[in-house]
């Protein structure tokens, strides 16, 4: 009646390739993915980008729930899973089936780390995402908490957001201290996840260019057998008309 349910632990059967990045806020993962994106496109690949919590289906709901602080660990987790499901179906699977490269900023491992720290059962959240497909490459950008804090406060952000700092968990009245405690716990979860799912650990304290060189080498190696699809000219970035394309920066 329906197509076979994909598996989150076995390789996917599609001709495209899925590359994802993980790491806490301030790890520099988005910068690295952006640079990889530029490089892949310069090489002539068809690349599609998707990021965590960006689907039109639930983005506004999450925003509203965050604003009036009514989200519980479980609804927080379920909303992000709904967003992920919607993007998997509309943004990730079509380009993969069409043989494109898909880059994802955060994947289910974010939920495994963050939602568990918020208090949901580790087994439950893994079952929740069992419909996901296994990425072809998964990079984890590992960074000490102090480095992340100084990067975020030093420039790109200025101030931590309520949920990003885990302020909903009453860890500390001080936002920076709350961020430190919350994200340290997430780091500890990531350490477990890296082993469980064999993520590629990147030393995110290194120079941006140095990290990128290594990332490109690894991706190049992994794409050896990949046959790029060359079809139409012009960028194809929209698969369903009702949904807007997320901005890639």
């Amino acid at each position: 009646m329906t197509e076979q349910t994909p598996s989150s632990t076995a390789p996917h059967p599609y001709p495209g390739k899925l590359i994802i990045v993980e790491g806490i806020d301030g790890s520099g993962k988005s910068t690295q993915l952006l640079l990889l994106h530029k490089w892949l496109e310069a090489k002539g690949h068809k690349v599609f980008f998707t990021e965590w919590n960006s689907s039109d289906l639930v983005k506004d709901t999450t925003k509203r729930g965050k604003k009036n602080k009514s989200l519980t660990p479980t609804t927080f987790s379920l909303l992000h899973a709904t967003d992920f499901a919607s993007r998997l179906y509309h943004e990730i699977l079509p380009p993969l089936k069409a043989g494109m490269l898909v880059l994802a900023d955060r994947y289910m491992y974010t939920a495994f780390a963050r939602d568990v720290v918020r208090g949901v059962s580790p087994e439950w959240v893994r079952k929740l995402y069992s419909f996901a497909i296994k990425p072809d490459m998964a990079f984890y950008f590992k960074v000490p908490i102090e480095v992340a804090i100084s990067r975020l406060l030093g420039g790109t952000r200025g101030q931590f957001k309520y949920y990003e700092a885990g302020m909903d968990m009453n860890l500390s009245q001080d936002v920076t201290e709350s961020f430190r405690i919350f994200q340290s716990r997430i780091l500890a979860q990531y350490d477990k996840i890296v082993d469980e799912y064999q993520l590629i650990t990147m030393d995110a304290t290194k120079d941006i260019a140095e990290q990128q060189d290594l990332m490109r080498r690894l991706v190049d190696e992994a794409l050896k057998d990949y046959k790029p699809r060359r079809g139409t000219h012009g960028r194809r970035s929209l698969f369903w008309r009702r949904f807007d394309v997320p901005k890639s920066e």
């Binding site: 009646m1 329906t2 349910t5 289906l57 639930v58 506004d60 709901t61 509203r64 729930g65 009514s70 989200l71 519980t72 660990p73 479980t74 609804t75 379920l78 909303l79 899973a81 709904t82 499901a85 919607s86 998997l88 179906y89 509309h90 208090g119 949901v120 059962s121 087994e123 439950w124 079952k127 929740l128 069992s130 419909f131 369903w240 009702r242």
Partner: protein, 244 residues
């Protein structure tokens, strides 16, 4: 619900053992008259002095508008659809149902997780995932299943309200028009509900009977539950003064 427990992997941050109220779910396919009966049950219970709240599928503050909008677009995939329901349910569970049960209310739920199970199953042929997702749900003290056959249901729905896209399972392309699709979809739903009725020990009520008979049966089942649990308020048991 002194022995309250979760359906599967529960809310690890919330111990259900101090829930004093009773959770009663009314299940059944579209158009069997669930909401009418719940209204009458609430009235009947309140007259007896019980505190009652009702909670309905997709009626959470967080999700009701989102679900409406999503269904309007009608290109929802199976997972998103089920996860939207799960999010709505979780919001109501944590913000309405559990607080009410903790304060000793009787909670009447218009549809419960079994509706989600049936809807996901007819779309996927897979029972496991959706049941895992709803692991955090409380197992109700009583599930009353208003059972109807599809022939009677079709007539009733045409008489009372029009068939709609989702109640007809049009996303499944089961038939060429609303009527064919509705019949096939609701047949599949009834079939799955019947299976769950055995598996989860639903109290089955024949929804082809008159509304009065159905209401009497529902009341008898609820009365039995409340009496068994020492919550009976009928004069005979109240006289013994043992109700807690």
């Amino acid at each position: 619900m002194g022995d309250a427990h979760y359906f599967g992997d529960g809310l690890t941050y919330l111990n259900p053992s101090d829930l004093k109220g009773k959770l009663i779910a009314i299940e059944g396919t579209d158009g069997v008259g669930r909401s009418t009966h719940i209204e009458l049950l609430q009235e009947w219970l309140e007259v007896q002095g019980y505190g009652v709240i009702t909670t309905g599928w997709t009626r959470s503050n967080l999700m009701s508008k989102t679900i409406e909008a999503a269904k309007g677009g009608n290109i929802l995939d199976r997972w998103s659809l089920s996860l939207l329901y799960a999010t709505d349910f979780a919001d109501r569970l944590e913000h309405q149902i559990i607080p009410a049960l903790r304060s000793g209310f009787i909670v009447l739920a218009d549809r419960y997780i079994y509706t989600a199970f049936a809807r996901d199953f007819v779309r996927s042929n897979d029972r496991k995932w959706i049941r895992d997702v709803f692991g955090f749900a409380l197992v109700p003290d009583l599930v009353c299943y208003l059972r109807i056959d599809v022939e009677t249901l079709v007539l009733r729905v045409i008489e009372t309200k029009a068939m709609n896209y989702w109640e007809s399972g049009m996303d499944l392309r089961l038939g060429n028009d609303l009527y064919d699709s509705f019949k096939k979809y609701q047949s599949l739903m009834i079939e799955e509900f019947d299976k769950m009725a055995e598996e989860f020990k639903f109290e089955v009520v024949d929804a082809r009977k008159s509304p009065e008979d159905i209401q009497d049966e529902l009341r008898a089942k609820i009365q039995r539950l409340l009496t068994e649990e020492g919550l009976g308020r009928v004069p005979s048991s109240a006289a013994q003064g043992t109700s807690v």
